[in-house]
């Protein structure tokens, strides 16, 4: 999977590394600010209230 992506990135090693870094950060940001905030309320370990 990672090898496949690496081979498809354009340019030499330096360019590939730079693009890979940008992709990693984009995925991180997507997870931290979009995916996790959406997933979290659906997980069971955040209940702090008492209710029926």
């Amino acid at each position: 999977m990672y090898g496949w992506i690496w081979r498809r990135l354009p340019g030499g090693t330096a360019t590939k590394a730079a693009i890979a870094l940008v992709i990693v950060h984009a995925v991180d940001a997507l997870l931290l600010f979009v995916v996790f905030p959406w997933v979290e309320p659906r997980l069971p370990f955040n209940d702090v209230t008492v209710d029926r």
């Binding site: 999977m1 309320p41 955040n46 702090v48 209230t49 008492v50 209710d51």
Partner: protein, 264 residues
Amino acid sequence: MADPDGDLGTDQRRDRAPRPAPRDPLWRVLVRGIGELLVTAGLIVLLFVVYEVYVTDLLNGRAQDQLAEQVHDQWGATAATPREDLVEPAVGRPLAVLHIPRLGEDYSRVILEGVSEDQLSQGPGHYVGTALPGQQGNLAIAGHRVGKGSPFLDADQLVPGDPIVVETAQNWYVYRVLGDAATGDYTADPSGIPGQQIVRPTEVSVIAPTPGAADPALTGAYLTLTTCHPKYSARQRLIVHAVLDGGPISKVDAPAGPPALSGG
């Protein structure tokens, strides 16, 4: 030079010409793919832990700063009114500011009205319909144990007699954790209400007007904190009960807070 055994020298020379790399057998591609997926899944779970423990704190800190500003603006506008009008605010609006010296010298959190995740991700939430600060009944507040600013992370360290101070537009209200301050016995209060208990999540009687009692009659001004227990779990609830100690202290008389806030 053509060596039938194909020695190293010959191979190297032949490799200079571009030649398609031999394809890996399918099983290797599959195993590698699965391995990479598992490593990726592990990294995502780790990142989620970082999110829960650090990023939500960051976001919550920002939300609390805004709320503190909002509440002080609001109070500034109503400061001229002589008597406090105790009105339950709309869900999602700030209600009061909570100070718990045991949890940190300058521990202060804006309490919002409502206990859904929308409110709890910003700060401790007031159970709708329970008592307001200083009123007879039970001022019940829920808050996160871990993450979202972790307002009640160390709520288990509150001992009998510890002040829990609620600040409103006009007044300070000092509640004290129930129990015997001398021995640290949580169950010593004559009312039978413990200062701390761990209950099942369905135990709604802890936020009843008189904690633990089925009878809705008002017998005193209590404060109850609820949070999850044990840490990182939602199996049980940690409950802290406190009772109002004395009447309201006007902010005009004590602009910097009651003595209880500074170790009294």
